[in-house]
């Protein structure tokens, strides 16, 4: 279903990943203007509203730190989605993988960090999170690899099961005896992921940036990445050229789940220290759209995710100050996404126009002209 133009070998264009970013500025403005009109209609001052967003999300020291902190899990998830989508594997089950990993990390976390030395405990927990995420993809992965069963269905099923299972765990075995609301025990603050020196940003963001960079590198420069692209673009060709399609499907699916699980681990170990029942940050869907807008290019997701983090951190605050429901920002984000697809269309058209020759076609462009 996805057709990704392979920048796999062709050009060494550094600007390649700037494209999507540059194209995003216009639609963001349009989306904000549309949102502004709605704000005006409800009798609020859009400038004050957006000012609040920027203030809280970007221009205050705590705000920018919060936004960056929020980017950590989002980038890790984006990395995971890209691995799957490149191979045309529809890992729609991100929420289940994420919440289950979160529940298990916070369930075992307090105990583990108490007995293990500080650094080791965190490493074990992160690996555990990744493992849970990966394991939760195994059923859809095997069903797809062996029976060719559509993974949209199976991973959606698994996500619904996973979300409920996470709740069951939190309300059952992992439930803290110290609180009345169902939640897990809290990992003490000093045992969580350390902050970057001089900030309140936990080191998870470094993991995330490394992960995104690694995915970009693997996708564009390695044989594994190319195999994934071939599988994604034409599975029959993948068989024909001798790629072990079953194995690759399972591996890609599990890597994807592992990143998403790791995202949950980082979020719990870096920010919360516990989970409450029925907690669901719902990162999944919007991130999907962002990843596609970045054309499955891992580096290009960084600015998009950054923007999204600012909007969601600042939007929360701005909405509350304006007396609007939180969900107002959902609408703005949705509109921005729509406008983003539109600019992509305009850009593609411009490209097509450029190749239309009306009069006096150049001889140099004749078929085979390149090597004559």
């Amino acid at each position: 279903m996805v057709e990704v133009e392979g920048e796999v070998i062709p050009r060494k264009r550094w600007g390649a990943w700037l494209g999507p970013v540059g194209q995003s500025i216009g639609p963001i403005l349009l989306g904000l203007v549309a949102g502004g009109i709605l704000l005006l209609l409800t009798g609020r001052n859009p400038l004050a509203f957006y000012g609040d967003i920027l203030k809280r999300g970007l221009f205050s020291s705590s705000g920018v730190q919060d936004s960056i902190t929020r980017m950590a899990p989002l980038l890790l998830m984006a990395a995971g989605l890209i691995v799957a989508f490149r191979a045309n594997i529809w890992n729609i089950g991100g929420d289940g993988q994420f919440l289950l990993a979160a529940a298990i990390v916070s369930g075992f976390g307090p105990g583990l960090v108490a007995v293990l030395p500080a650094g080791l405990g965190l490493v074990v927990l992160c690996l555990l999170a990744a493992l849970v995420g990966a394991l939760w993809t195994i059923i859809p992965a095997l069903l797809k690899a062996v029976y060719g069963m559509n993974e949209v269905i199976t991973s959606l099923m698994m996500t619904f099961v996973g979300v409920n299972l996470a709740n069951l765990l939190i309300k059952g075995p992992f439930r803290s005896q110290k609180t009345s609301v169902p939640q897990t025990d809290v990992i003490p603050h000093d045992k969580l992921l350390p902050y970057l020196p001089g900030t309140r940003i936990h080191v998870g963001i470094l993991f995330a940036l490394v992960a995104v960079g690694a995915v970009y590198y693997v996708m564009t420069r390695t044989s594994f990445g190319l195999r994934l692209s071939v599988l994604g673009a034409n599975p029959r060709a993948a068989v024909h050229v001798g790629i072990d399609v079953r194995r690759l499907t399972v591996v890609a699916f599990m890597i994807s789940g592992a990143f998403i699980g790791l995202a949950a681990g980082v979020e719990i170990l870096g920010v919360w220290g516990y989970v409450r029942a029925d907690w669901n940050p719902n990162f999944g869907l919007t991130l999907f759209a962002l990843v596609f807008l970045a054309r499955l290019n891992a580096l290009a997701t960084i600015p998009l995710v950054g923007f999204y983090a600012i909007i969601s951190m600042g939007g929360h605050y701005a909405a509350r100050r304006a007396g609007l429901p939180d969900d107002f920002m959902l609408m703005v984000v949705g509109l921005i996404l729509l406008f983003m697809t539109l600019t992509e269309y305009v850009a593609a058209r411009r490209e097509r126009r450029a190749t239309r020759l009306v009069a006096g076609p150049k001889a140099a462009l004749r078929p085979g002209g390149a090597h004559e």
Binding site: L143, M158, T286, F288, A289, P325, G334, Y345
Partner: protein, 311 residues
């Protein structure tokens, strides 16, 4: 005594199944149509929310359930025109647009609901049921199966219509061709754009109607995010149906019944944690998939925009 228990249980299960299954049926049917035509409408849930909200508002102010349902249908239709323009006419990414639509719809309906009814929470009366004589007299099942609002029967009729259109009409043939190999349809002189647009409008209308059913008939009230994943279940049902309307019907009611299972169990005094009950339908589908290794055949061109002459 135990007899009474079972019949109460069954009645609750069935009427609950219909109540929860109807929106899934409508949305699933709609999604099936657009999937057959090659458009994956991930934004189905958004269309349901739009329909649910608009239907509720219309029904509330017009004091007519029917006008409300119609309003819901129209709202879904309008939402789907966005997808028609973006995905079919302009050939943009169906996933991104679908998600954008969903997120926008979630935002809009939630903001509007809170602005309008955030403090008052008005409710609708329940919709009058149409009692089918004789059949509704069947012990245990009759009352729950054949004493339903008219719109339920309309929904059932739609199954038959969808089946007939897809199987035995030119339009159905063209729809399926648009999903399998749009260039073939185009080469045969039928507009892929028009065919897919029609399919999407049907999806939107049915999704909207399904949402309106949820708020008007099901809950009597609209609350934000009330669809609760129904749109996605609709997508799954549509995929599993392999383009057969009857399977959408079966799937929707099985799902609906497992949703109503906890209420039915509570009625007979069995208490199961809500989370377990919530999980059951999905576990059931998974188990069935694993056992029967049922391959959901998806149209070959599903999700890919058609641009004439591109290769």
């Amino acid at each position: 005594m135990s007899n009474l228990l079972t019949s109460t249980f069954l009645a609750a299960l069935i009427s609950g199944g219909i109540l929860a299954g109807m929106p899934l049926l409508l949305a699933g049917l709609g999604e099936m149509v657009s999937e057959r035509a090659g458009v994956l409408n991930i934004g189905l849930e958004g269309m349901m929310l739009m329909g649910g909200y608009a239907g509720f508002v219309v029904a509330l102010y017009s004091h007519s359930h029917w006008l409300g349902l119609f309003g819901g249908l129209l709202a879904g239709l309008v939402a789907s025109t966005v997808m028609v323009i973006f995905c079919v006419r302009l050939g943009l990414d169906q996933i991104v647009v679908g998600i954008a639509l969903l997120v926008t719809a979630e935002g809009i309906t939630s903001v509007l609901q809170r602005a309008q009814f955030g403090t008052t929470y008005p409710r609708l009366d329940s919709m009058a049921a149409l009692k089918i004589p004789v059949l509704s007299g069947i012990p245990a099942l009759g009352e729950s199966l054949f004493n339903q609002p008219l719109v339920v029967y309309v929904g059932l009729a739609l199954v038959a219509v969808a089946h007939w259109v897809l199987r035995s009409t030119s339009m159905g043939l063209h729809l399926r061709a648009a999903g399998e190999k749009p260039q073939a349809l185009d080469a045969a002189g039928v507009s892929v754009t028009a065919t897919r647009s029609v399919a999407l409008l049907v999806t939107g209308s049915l999704g909207g109607l399904g949402g309106a059913y949820m708020s008007i008939v099901g809950a009597g009230i609209f609350v934000p995010f009330m669809t609760h994943g129904a749109g996605f279940i609709g997508i799954v049902i549509a995929m599993l149906s392999r383009g057969r309307a009857v399977w959408v019907l079966i799937g929707a009611f099985l799902f609906g019944m497992s949703v109503s299972l906890s209420t039915a169990l509570q009625l007979v005094g069995v208490n199961v944690p809500q989370d377990v009950v919530n999980m059951l339908p999905f576990v059931a589908v998974l188990v069935a998939l694993v056992i029967f290794a049922r391959e959901a055949y998806l149209p070959a061109a599903l999700g890919s925009p058609y641009v004439r002459g591109s290769r």
